[in-house]
């Protein structure tokens, strides 16, 4: 399920929903900071969990351009393809 952007997006949402503080109605277009109320540290720590799942490392500068869950999924997918 992690071979496509959609698959990665689904995996991210599943992981986010494991946190009871995250709103239940999130989707790929949800904004990570605004809709999920994540601060910068929370974003970095969450990305670390996903990195392990996909065996990639996301450089911090890439996070600056990420707004939505789908943006994050796209970034991870690109890194995973480059790393394969």
């Amino acid at each position: 399920m992690t071979d496509s952007v959609a698959g990665i997006s689904g995996m991210i949402i599943e992981k986010l929903l494991a946190n009871p503080k995250v709103p239940r109605d999130i989707d790929g277009n949800s904004k990570i900071v605004e809709d999920l109320a994540f601060d910068s540290l929370a974003v970095m720590n969450f990305v670390m969990e996903i990195e392990d799942e996909l065996d990639v490392s996301v450089p911090l500068d890439k996070l600056a351009d990420i707004r939505t869950i789908n943006d994050l999924a796209g970034c991870l997918h690109t890194l995973k393809v480059a790393h394969a």
Partner: protein
């Protein structure tokens, strides 16, 4: 016209929420004056200082004070220039030579603050073609130095050699330089880094290793050279960065190394080049404090005893502290309101500690951060612990 401060609205709300629940602004505590290393006047009251990072009490070193006074009288109070222009006095070179000798390294660069030492070293060592591997709980000065460098930044899990190695393995085809950065003692939690394990890893993966010993310089190791000395792995650390504003009680920072290439950093490290150099009286006081520290190893023994006493005492009254016994002892609480109330009660009853709030803390939880000193008496530590216990009971903890 766009309100230039609109971007701070979230910060304003958080700040107002915090100060509404507190009788004072926790970020604007004024120490009206110190009476000694361990006692200061705050709000007109004599207050025990348990949050000053003044580990050896040398901010009040008689020798350092005398050296500063004498130097100010003979050389004035400032250099009025940067190190690459008119701001290098003989004293700056002398301090660099003394520090290089102390750390048994070939080279030393002195910076105007510890913050700038990290900014200036990191930004000169790596650029956009390189990768930095930072411990996730790194100090802001390391993150800011990383940003200034333009290098790719990858975080590894705090104090986790396995995670670091995993991330280095992913970089096996990377062509640029790889620099790992870890701290000796972590400033918020007092955790001690496994630098010896990081040395093994960096050797296997062809990376460089920089250690920020800001909180461990003068504190750990038989001679006070920090965690690397304590763990017997100094030869594997490429760059050691630190500050004078903790164990030496003054201000300023340094980078020491055996790499000859560091000399060119003086011509490309912007935080070194484009700021006024340290004033002569500060350099003189720093050298005197360094001599004082070397002449009195018993200060380190006393500090360790005090750290163990505070750490055990806080655990005994049922508070949650880190596992490492170090001069930084942080009590973890669950909510910001609880932490502000606890901190206020401590201050109003004569004990000052640092209130540390997320996101400046790991794990998103607030900390009451204590730093212990060689200058604390056992009675002062016991008084602080007893007060922590009383306040904890009051809050039902």
């Amino acid at each position: 016209m766009t309100d230039i401060f609109a971007k701070h609205q979230g910060l304003r709300e958080a700040y107002e929420g915090l100060t509404a629940a507190s009788p004072r602004n926790p970020f604007e505590v004024v120490i009206e004056r110190p009476i000694s290393a361990s006692v200061g006047i705050i709000e007109g009251r004599e207050t025990l200082l348990f949050g000053t990072n003044n580990y050896l009490g040398l901010s009040q070193s008689k020798k350092a004070i005398e050296a500063a006074v004498e130097t100010a009288e003979t050389m004035g109070v400032g250099t009025t220039g940067s190190r690459i222009a008119n701001g290098t006095f003989g004293l700056h070179r002398k301090l660099e030579a003394k520090l290089a000798e102390f750390f048994r390294r070939k080279h030393c660069m002195v910076f105007s603050t510890g913050y700038q030492a990290n900014l200036g070293t990191i930004s000169a060592l790596v650029n956009k073609d390189d990768v930095l591997l930072l411990d996730a709980d790194s100090h802001a000065s390391i993150y800011d130095g990383a940003k200034l460098s333009g290098a790719q930044v990858i975080r590894f899990r705090h104090n986790d050699p396995v995670d670091l190695e995993k991330r280095l393995a992913r970089l096996k085809d990377h062509q640029g330089a790889k620099l790992i950065i870890a701290e000796g003692i972590y400033s918020m939690t007092g955790n001690v880094a496994p630098l010896d394990k990081f040395v093994d890893i960096k050797t296997r993966h062809g990376a460089y290793l920089m250690a920020d010993e800001a909180h461990s310089f003068g504190v750990l190791g038989a001679h006070g050279r920090g965690v690397a000395e304590m763990q017997g792995c100094e030869d594997g650390i490429d760059f050691v960065v630190g500050t004078f504003s903790k164990s030496l009680g003054t201000v300023g920072g340094y980078c020491v190394t055996n790499h000859d290439g560091v000399d060119l950093m003086r011509l490309c490290s912007r935080p070194y080049m484009f700021t006024a150099s340290l004033p002569p009286e500060i350099i003189a006081a720093t050298m005197a404090a360094l001599e004082d520290m070397q002449a009195r190893p018993e200060l380190r023994t006393k500090l360790q005893e005090n750290a163990a006493r505070l750490h055990a005492g806080l655990q005994k009254v049922g508070l949650k502290t880190g596992e490492h016994v170090s001069p930084v002892v942080a009590v973890t609480l669950e909510t910001v309101d609880q932490a502000v109330g606890f901190w206020t009660a401590l201050l109003e009853n004569g004990v000052y500690v640092n209130l540390s709030l997320p996101p400046a803390t790991p794990d998103n939880r607030p900390l009451l951060r204590c730093s212990v000193m060689a200058a604390h008496s056992p009675e002062e530590i016991d008084r602080a612990v007893a007060l922590f216990g009383e306040v904890a009971r009051h809050f039902g903890l």
